[in-house]
Every structure is written in C-alpha cells, then in structure tokens.
Symmetry: C2
Subunit: 181 residues, 2 copies
C-alpha cells in the first residue's frame, strides 16, 4: 500500500446500466481516518481526431442532455463489450461522420474526471481519411450533424467558447503542436 | 426547440451528496422516439496552470480512488457553494501546492465528459506565482504531494503515459502552444 493509497472498507451500489454503474464506498485514508468516495464506473470511450484531405477537422454537432445545450465535438463513443478500442473508433468515425480511415494511431489514454469516475478516453489519430460512398447508420437514439473546420476556424472557436468540450480542445491543440494542419 | 434537442419527460433521483447528484430521465428524442439519459449533475471545478519563477509546472501527486492508482495532475478542486471560481482556484493552489499567485487569468470553461455529466472545469492561468511562507491546510480527507517539472519533463511524461489526466495534458499543451515555458 503506497502512502497515499485509500483502501475500500465497504460499498453500496446506487445505479447500473449498460455502460456505467455508480457506487459509494467507505474508505480507509492514509492517516487511518475514514471517508466516503462516490465512484462512477464507466466502460471507457474513444475519441477520434480525423482530418480530411483538405486538412479540415471532422466534428459533430449534437445535443448533450446533461449540459442542456448543443455542443461541437470530435467524433467519439463508448466502448462496447469485448470490442477493441480501434474497432470502436473506426465504427464511431464512420457512423458519426460518414468518413472512414486507413489506420488509427493511438496517442494516449486519458482520464476525463478522476475525482469521481474511472472513465478513460482512448485518443486516436485517424490517417487516410476518406468519405464513405454509402452512409452507415449508428445508434437509434443519437442525432448528430457533421461539421468540417479549418485550423483557423478551430482556434477561433476554442477562443470564443463555441468549442468547449475538453477532448475536442485537446484534439485541436494536438494537431497544432504536431504541425499536422 | 432546436432540431437536435431532447426534452425531459420524467426523472428519478438515485443519489445525492454535497457536490453531485445522479438522476435518470426519460427523454423525448428529436424524431419523436423516447430514450433514457443518466445524468451526473456536478457543482463544477477549477484547474490551475501555475509556473514557478524557474518555469516549472506545479503538479500534485495523489491517490485517485475511482481509478485505483496514483496520478500526477495540475492543482484542481470542486467549487464551493456561492464561491467565485477565482476564489476556489486561489484556495486550491495554496492548499495543494503551498504556492500562491498575484492573478488568475481565465482561459476557458470546458466540459469534461458531456455524455453523462454537466461537470465543467474553469481553466485558469496563474501569474506571479510565489511560495507561501507558511503552508495552508486543505481538506482533511485529501492527501497530496507536490511535484515541479520542466517543459521537457512534462512532454516526456505525457508521451510515456506517466501523466494521463486530460486536464493536465491540456495544461501542458496550453503552456507549450502559448510559448510560456
């Protein structure tokens, strides 16, 4: 046990669906004290950074019910059971944007909100991005619109807050630092 | 109602504590169908990007119970009721690092995981960062260790996965793109 570690004493489950469950644990703190920790256990997700041949970033406009607003985000999606993250990433790219790719390069696996969830995002850079001849249909309860933007537009939309989703800001920073657009 | 909007029909609360509550709603979809949405309603948080006079980034090592591992992150914390984000940011910087700052510049407000939570992070750049003469004590159930790293170390630790918290990756990319270190 590291000197910062917290150890589970007991737990209560409050909710469970197909992609997350929520429990609260009593934990033993490093100094011998006790506290409670709420945990949203999540299946994990993928984020896809995809530039068209014209160096435009593929983005998706959608309604985000938890926020109560429309957002503009990189294509992304939850992992399905027993599905490799690259498979999820290619499927989500195709379903959400109507584009496909030749390859996916994994850039990292990042925790989104480690204070209360174990959700991680597998970050992928898509290469060889081309438009599909025929659209692929996705989840029946997801409604999205495609958007493609240039580097200048992207930087302006981050600055003025039109783009405020953290994984999308990461994607735009990544492309800029890597000199890919 | 925008053409992507989802409208609440009914809801059930599953859990509530001092900084989040969890409910599942039945919603009306844009095509007239129905679905369920789980929502973690969160008070919001701050993230503080602070460089020492030697251009080293202030970071905090801590045990993240939801992930079950120690992480290395920028100082951050949840908003308290009726507290302005700048006040939270200065307090968390002082408590978690033993440093203070002259000013805080807001860089943006970002959604961390909009698929299931409304949590937003108020992103701050601290300026005029100096060490406090006397340490300030923080939350009694939080145990942290200070770490200061150079730009080269930071870029290496993001690449090799030692730093994998998304808000910290954002901070490192921000400082690099802005030419601040």
């Amino acid at each position: 046990m590291s000197k910062l570690e917290e150890k589970k004493l007991s737990g209560v489950e409050y909710y469970r669906n197909s992609f997350l469950h929520i429990h609260e644990d009593d934990v033993l703190l490093p100094d011998g004290g006790q506290s409670k920790r709420i945990v949203v256990t999540h299946v994990g997700a993928v984020n896809i950074i995809a530039l068209t041949a014209e160096k435009e970033l593929l983005l998706v406009r959608q309604y985000r019910y938890p926020l109560g607003v429309e957002t503009i985000e990189t294509p992304a999606g939850k992992l399905e059971a027993d599905e490799a993250p690259t498979v999820t990433a290619k499927r989500e790219l195709e379903e959400e944007t109507g584009y496909t790719c030749e390859a996916l390069v994994q850039l990292g696996t990042h925790a989104t909100a480690p204070g209360f969830t174990n959700e991680v995002l597998h970050q992928f850079l898509a290469t060889g991005v081309t438009k599909l001849d025929v659209a692929v249909s996705g989840d029946e309860d997801e409604f999205t619109e495609l958007l493609t933007i240039s580097k200048d537009q992207a930087l302006r939309m981050v600055k003025n807050g039109e783009i405020f989703d953290l994984k999308t800001v990461y994607a735009i920073q990544y492309l800029t630092l890597a000199g890919l657009w």
